[in-house]
Amino acid sequence: MADYKELVLTASGVNPLKCMRCGKCSGTCPSYDAMEYHPHQFVYMVEKGDIEKLMESKSIYTCLSCFACVERCPRDVEPAKLVEAVRLAVIRQQGKNHLKSEQIPDMVDEELPQQAIVSAFRKYSK
């Protein structure tokens, strides 16, 4: 469990102790009602090391990654980065790459931005 916390903290670069629990992230979140755990809960649960609950929750996929919480947080906590890091923890835990580099040449066409490939590796590979 502690390993997951370490992973989430390292991968996100977020320090949840900076949070002053004002709830502005959840006040601003457009996907609030679609999420079982809300942005402010993500921060607190990561701080407590409650990562597995988050990994099992659909909330990590219903987050829109709009970064409104990151933009408006008065303490620079960056909750959306934690959500992304928990997603990453799920992928690593499943122990397999959902995207292999051999697959790439077939998928590439001239229109595809390179950034999308990089981003896809971040989300779907260990």
Binding site: C22, G27, R75, D76
Partner: protein
């Protein structure tokens, strides 16, 4: 070689916890010239001081080294002790083995080794100390208070009451400050103007007080007891002595679209104006940016209606130069600019206002004449949302304009606003979104609880994330309710933002003129955070009100009185003893280059032509630097600037510093 005594303090466990004080005393005792060395739990105690005094007599000590806390803390104590035993007080050196050693080290061996080095350094320095005698300088028995808000007013009244003349410099056309704009005051809900205006009138009537309104401090020179200050009296185009404050000019003035600063720009005023009915002095001002006569040369209507003949379109800024013994900074605060908070729609909707603007809406002489009304359509709001901590308690990088500190006054004035709304308009729904409710203070928490329990204000723990103006003129307030773990949408008619407060912009340049230090937020720094809260580290400069840190009115008045008592204590003295650690120039080395005078922040260095001829054939006149010892503050800038090594500082001579460096490197 002088006979030196070394005294090592334990400071309880403050030093002894990380420094082997016995080993330090023993090792330093073996230094050449050290004839006595000992340690004691509290060297600053009476018993500790007696050890020093007795040792001076018994061992005929000629120099004393105390290894203890910072000299800022107890140098004066030990100098007195040394002087009481018959030594010159400047034959003492303090080695700081607490702040610069024990407090910052964890390892005993490391701490002890460093303490020994610091002690040895002080021994090396004291060898080269020379007896110094402090001169005296007279005290000008007049005080200057910069800022005429409640802080400055209270300080000035208390100083004047003690019998000393005091001048108030206020940059606005009237004294009174922010308190004039406020409707009611917490926690008693008495009318702000009703308690302030008697004090303003008292300032005008007290013969010890001179008010320089519409004036700014231009330059400050001198030092404690003897400051020279140049004050710019901005042209108001009205003769203050002739104007009766009848207001005829303000009524007849054809310009009607100047933003009224008293109403924070929520309404307009004429170009000829008196800020508000109770202004002190009750004298009109012409707004030189807006007045038709002053901008285009036409009109002149005010002059024709003024029966006192007080209008003077030719008036220029004038200057007053005065000497003061003490200066009090009371420059106050302003709410921060919240244009950067797009999420609260402040710049999009007239019905999103700051708390100070809301005060103006509630107050009888405000833009709505005291009626709770929306600024967009004049309708009475049925639902009001208050948002706390807008710009307070923010990391520096979050919005670029937030403040890390808690502004301290917002929790209480928001409770007051919420309460007043519910009292006058009981059919109004009032929501307060808070992060924490901070109400330390006498009768403060009771006040907040009354807002909740008696007045039925809805306090919701959580921050507002977004305010969105709707087509029907309402405001959609999206916020989190952390206790029920819900996201709320409140359909509000008005949103009030508790904007953070920050020091007035005039504080920073003033601090530079006064050589008074400030923190990163531009609040003036106090000489000691706990024990000297109303004094600046710069001697003779005192602090009153929010310029030192966020404060409400009761705290400001208390601090203003404390600052006044410190000023009175200073002005009651006829003479002050000067710091004898001042610069002097070696005339044989000085080449008169002016480098030292150029860097001297106090203007203490002048030049004179001196005759250095040694034979009768021809004269040799040379230009050499000469230091005014009463003005020199011993900062040492000149000693660094001097290219020929002619400038030196008594008590901190270059030779002494080199001896210290040698001792450290030994």
């Amino acid at each position: 070689m002088l006979r030196i005594g070394v005294f090592v303090c334990h400071c309880g466990t403050n030093i002894a916890g990380t420094v082997d004080v016995k080993a330090v005393a023993e090792t330093l005792g073996k230094e050449p010239a050290v004839v006595f060395s000992t340690d004691y739990p509290y060297m600053c105690s009476e018993a500790g001081q007696n050890i020093i005094k007795d040792a001076i007599k018994e061992y005929q000590l000629e120099g004393v080294v105390v290894c203890s806390c910072s000299p800022r803390m107890h140098e004066a104590t030990f100098r007195k002790a040394v002087a009481a035993a018959g030594l010159n007080p400047y034959m003492l050196e303090v080695a700081n083995i607490r702040e610069q050693c024990s407090w910052i080290h964890k390892d005993m061996a490391e701490g002890t080794a460093k303490a020994i080095v610091l002690g040895r350094t002080a021994v090396a320095k004291v060898q080269l100390n020379a007896p110094l005698t402090a001169g005296e300088s007279p005290v000008v028995k007049r005080a200057l208070v910069i800022g005429g808000g409640i802080a400055g007013i209270q300080t000035a009244l208390d100083i004047a009451e003690a019998g000393y003349p005091v001048d108030i410099v206020e940059k606005e056309p009237t004294i009174g400050g922010k308190m004039t704009q406020i409707d009611k005051t917490f926690p008693t809900l008495d009318c702000s103007s009703c308690i302030l205006t008697p004090k303003m009138v008292e300032c005008a009537q007290n013969e010890n007080i001179t008010i320089y309104s519409y004036s700014e401090v231009e330059a400050v020179t001198g030092f404690v007891g003897n400051f020279s200050v140049k004050i710019r009296r901005k042209a108001r185009f009205v003769d203050e002595d002739k104007c009766t404050g009848c207001g005829a000019c303000t009524e007849k003035c054809p310009v009607k679209n100047a933003p009224d600063a008293y109403n924070l720009g929520l309404s307009n005023r004429h170009a000829a104006y008196i800020p508000f009915a109770q202004a002190i002095p009750n004298v009109a001002v012409l707004d030189k940016e807006r007045c038709i006569k002053l901008t285009k040369g036409k009109c002149g209507l005010c002059s024709t209606v003024c029966s006192a003949g007080a209008i003077d379109y030719e008036q220029q800024d004038s200057f007053v130069e005065e000497k003061y013994g003490a200066i009090v900074a009371a420059t106050g605060y302003n709410p921060i600019n919240i244009d950067g908070y797009d999420e609260f729609a402040y710049s999009q909707s007239k019905d999103v206002v700051t708390s100070l603007e809301f005060e103006r809406i509630l107050k009888a002489d405000g833009p709505t004449e005291g009626h709770l009304a929306r600024l967009s359509d004049g309708k009475q709001p049925k639902t009001i949302v208050f948002v706390q901590c807008v710009g307070s308690r923010e990391s520096g990088s979050a919005h670029g304009c937030g403040k890390e500190y808690c502004s301290k006054i917002c929790c209480m004035y928001t409770a007051k606003h919420a309460m007043l709304c519910r009292e006058k308009y009981p059919d109004t729904d009032v929501y307060v979104f808070y992060i924490d409710v901070r109400t330390p203070g006498k009768n403060y928490d009771e006040f907040y609880r009354r807002a909740v329990e008696q007045y039925g204000v809805h306090y919701i723990k959580g921050m507002v994330g977004k305010v969105a103006p709707q087509a029907d003129g309402t405001l959609d307030v999206q916020a989190s309710d952390l206790i029920s773990n819900e996201q709320l949408h409140v359909k509000a008619d008005m949103v009030v933002l508790a904007a953070a407060i920050e020091p007035d912009k005039s504080a920073r340049p003033l601090a530079t003129m006064l050589t008074a230090s400030m923190d990163t937020n531009d609040f003036f720094t106090e000489a000691h955070a706990k024990l000297r809260p109303v004094e600046s580290p710069t001697a003779g400069v005192f602090l009153s009100g929010v310029c030192q840190g966020p404060k409400d009115i009761p705290e400001t008045v208390a601090q203003a009185g404390a600052a006044a008592s410190k000023v009175i204590g200073l002005l009651a003295k006829d003479k002050l003893s000067c710091n004898p650690c001042v610069a002097h120039s070696n005339e044989m080395k000085c080449n008169g280059c002016s480098s030292c005078a150029n860097v001297c922040p106090y203007g203490a260095i002048t030049y004179e032509d001196k005759d250095f001829s040694r034979r009768k054939d021809g004269t040799m006149m040379r230009r050499v630097a000469s230091v005014n010892e009463a003005v020199c503050q011993g900062c040492g800038a000149c000693t660094v600037a001097c290219p020929s090594g002619a400038m030196d500082l008594k008590g901190f001579a270059t030779s002494q510093i080199m001896a210290e460096v040698d001792a450290i490197c030994k």
